[in-house]
Symmetry: C3
Subunit: 388 residues, 3 copies
Amino acid sequence: MAYDPAEAPYAPFGLPKLGLRNYWNPILLSRQLRRKPQAVRMLGEDIALYRDGGKLFAIEDRCPHRGVKLSVGHCLYPGTGTITCPYHGWTLDGASGALVAALMDGPGAPIVGKVRAKTYPVREHAGLIWVFVGDIDPVPLEDDLSPFMADQKTFFTISAHVDYKANWRALVDSWPNDHHAPFAHRNSPELLFQPILPFAMTTVTSPLPDDKGITYEGKNGIAGADFPGLGRFPNRHWWRFMKPTGRGKVTGYQNSKAFKVYGIPNRLQLRLPGTVIIGRQSGEYCLIQWATPIDEHTTRCFNINSFRRLGFWREFYDRAHYYVWRRWVHDLLFSGQDKVITEALVPGPERLSRSDTGVIAWRKYAGKHARRPQNNATNTATRQIGSA
Amino acid sequence: MAYDPAEAPYAPFGLPKLGLRNYWNPILLSRQLRRKPQAVRMLGEDIALYRDGGKLFAIEDRCPHRGVKLSVGHCLYPGTGTITCPYHGWTLDGASGALVAALMDGPGAPIVGKVRAKTYPVREHAGLIWVFVGDIDPVPLEDDLSPFMADQKTFFTISAHVDYKANWRALVDSWPNDHHAPFAHRNSPELLFQPILPFAMTTVTSPLPDDKGITYEGKNGIAGADFPGLGRFPNRHWWRFMKPTGRGKVTGYQNSKAFKVYGIPNRLQLRLPGTVIIGRQSGEYCLIQWATPIDEHTTRCFNINSFRRLGFWREFYDRAHYYVWRRWVHDLLFSGQDKVITEALVPGPERLSRSDTGVIAWRKYAGKHARRPQNNATNTATRQIGSA
Amino acid sequence: MAYDPAEAPYAPFGLPKLGLRNYWNPILLSRQLRRKPQAVRMLGEDIALYRDGGKLFAIEDRCPHRGVKLSVGHCLYPGTGTITCPYHGWTLDGASGALVAALMDGPGAPIVGKVRAKTYPVREHAGLIWVFVGDIDPVPLEDDLSPFMADQKTFFTISAHVDYKANWRALVDSWPNDHHAPFAHRNSPELLFQPILPFAMTTVTSPLPDDKGITYEGKNGIAGADFPGLGRFPNRHWWRFMKPTGRGKVTGYQNSKAFKVYGIPNRLQLRLPGTVIIGRQSGEYCLIQWATPIDEHTTRCFNINSFRRLGFWREFYDRAHYYVWRRWVHDLLFSGQDKVITEALVPGPERLSRSDTGVIAWRKYAGKHARRPQNNATNTATRQIGSA
């Protein structure tokens, strides 16, 4: 195969450009799918999503008859779970994909039952629509979720998403303590009045107990330094008068309420297939970001804000605070800085350094532990990493 | 050659993606070509069209000198039938393509007479501009027209066109009684108040007497049926109170005025190179649709409304009725439904069924009977169909 | 290598589609580069340009760390000549390209000094920013400039540029007396009231004394002629009442002030890497056009108006005259005619004629004399021309 500069950083680890298959990924907010079928693309596959009779269905977006997109059709027989192609009325069962009727052929058409479109496992959970794109039987959705999302009795979530013109791997690479936050986000409104996040840390990573990702921690960080020939970083700004708060409070996690009261063993998690949990010392909120691959050049970045349920008035406050402050300051402005950077990435060889310890750990972990069809995949991945 | 999913349904029949060559196709309405030369693309070829001295000319849209588009130039010497390149004034005869003068080389330049651009046979007829793109001497235009267009003493026409982002074959495939009309157009304003067109018919096709296409007829159609597990199609709608009229009147053609008085032997014709005639039982109107291939992904769909000349007041009424009603209801809305569907077509393998009898008959007929240069083409086509 | 119609006219001469390397080319007006780094593309290479501490820097527009465009970053340490990547704060010296600090790694990071980005020689001269893209040590900027630009004590310049959607070679081809001016520009406001430029000339070319281009002259031109079967060219227009002036005054250069007083040996020069000088008989003004290749399909055309310094009031007049008249009439309208034509060029074989003598001379000269790395290039070029 020809050398592809865009693949150079990932090929040795077996991380495919269209995303890791055999996982659940979110693709829409629940409220974005109403009565009309909708076309989505995930991991390079075109899928028609629709609701009928209180259920969700996901079917390949191409009628097996003459190839028209099913998402252009509609649910002609509500309550039956079928979708009907707009061209000749082929009616397919959204669960099995089986052809239930070829309307224009009349009842009892011989082709009925002999044709099947591909369908996808689909779920609705935590205000999001999840689809399993892969080559194996789907795992339970909960297998791919952290407790902060899986357990909706203890937590509630508010989500938003934006499409990045970047490959999913570039986005995920920016999460595992690659030290870009102290630099790239130093002037974001969220962090503007506090000291910048510590940098030049030693990054320590270890596998999560549930074997679905890694946790990472930065140790021995510094808050500023003199660089010979340049000057100080950061320039001392008088307006950084606040104490570290929220995301900024990164040291002393062992003494935090999150750890002591709620028993959350670590603040930061990077999980398969490509999602990050950025916790707080309060243990009462965490930000989850999720990179759903659309196609080679596009990624849907979800910001999933997970709040601990602490009674009516606290929930009221949390929701109000989100819509008034956090939605703009983080989900738009802070994430917007990442968007500018990942979209300005030019494929090619890298020169990794100390700050990339977390990135390397993630790539290795993900390539080795990604869920794959039983027989051959793990071997391949292991071999590839061995030779990297 | 590599397997191309977009070609899979057509390759066995020898139907090329850029269109059938050696036919006349319409490309513009007469009124769309005025004094300025115009660039058009047909069957993938770029052509400069212009009028001069009451004549029409079609020449390849590239000056043989240094390659500038002739359509950017103009007719510098009106009445001579020439077009002059905007770059150095090479002046070419639109009929023969011969270089008549290289202005900047002065009179008597040695290159004059030694260079020739490709020209295309071009005609104006029935309010349309027709071009013959092919590799043989052009046939008379009338050879490619049905009487409804050829005989402008008996008929007059009103035409409109829209470009579809679809291959010409996909558009033509929707014409030969593929049963999409009763389904896809059931709610079009034209058919809304009448019973839906019959479906689940047995399609009978036979070659036209003039050997330039097929006629097709649906027999034993039904107007509704119960589909097990789904329900009735169509849902009974109280507003379908009208008797079948216009396009909807499809049975009993043998007793029609068209057949008995005017002697039109059949209501529906699908003709080479890619045009359909949808007649009426009155015999006083027919709709002709024509798919002119632009390039691989674009087709210009003409709606040519052909009216029998029945005196001044009837013609006045027909024209008024067209502009007030039919133009919107059919040429925009009804055809718009076809546009949405053909543009939503995803290339790939098909699963043809009973309703596609007409499509298969058309593909076979067209592949076998298409006009081709004498020596080799017919053999190839026959062989390809034999092995299909 | 596959036959490429776009290369057919140039391949025999060794003129590459991305431009002649190892030359200085202008890319921006001085005033277009302010404090923010800017992304430019030249000869297909992406370059970040910035100013710091009164100096100019040009560095490849990709951080060697993880590939983000440096032009998205900024000069975090003013006065040090460095640019800092927006992602993790890698700080590179714009002169040497050396990594000076990896901010997020802290001071003393081991990778500092071990990584180097590519930098480009860059200069500011005559109100333009010049970059040397090539594979050898840069020559002095003056080597690539005619005296009209190099000597800013004697001349001052006013420049403008427009991007053409055309290959650089197509633009340069329109300069060496290919006779397109008398035709294509005959109705430009600049020439409208004078006789058209003479045509059907014998073009005489000779190498420039400094061996950096050719001079060309048209002899025995005519001002009009009858073309059999067509008529006269040009049609006599009553409004062409003026005597030839400015660009139009093309005969008798040997008696001109430019030649006699100022000692400018010729009026027209076509110079490497792709620039033309169109002088005047006064010797007090010349137009320089420069084709800077952006990429295969885009060229930045500079109009560099060079005026002889003749005292305060004359300079005042020249500047006023430029902004009121020449800027619109030439740099926009006249050049706009060339833009339309070069953008309408369709790649493919040519049929060159008498009027193309200048074009052929230029292609041969440029292919043979282009500056190339010592060892192999000249031989190749010679061989290619020999076999052409």
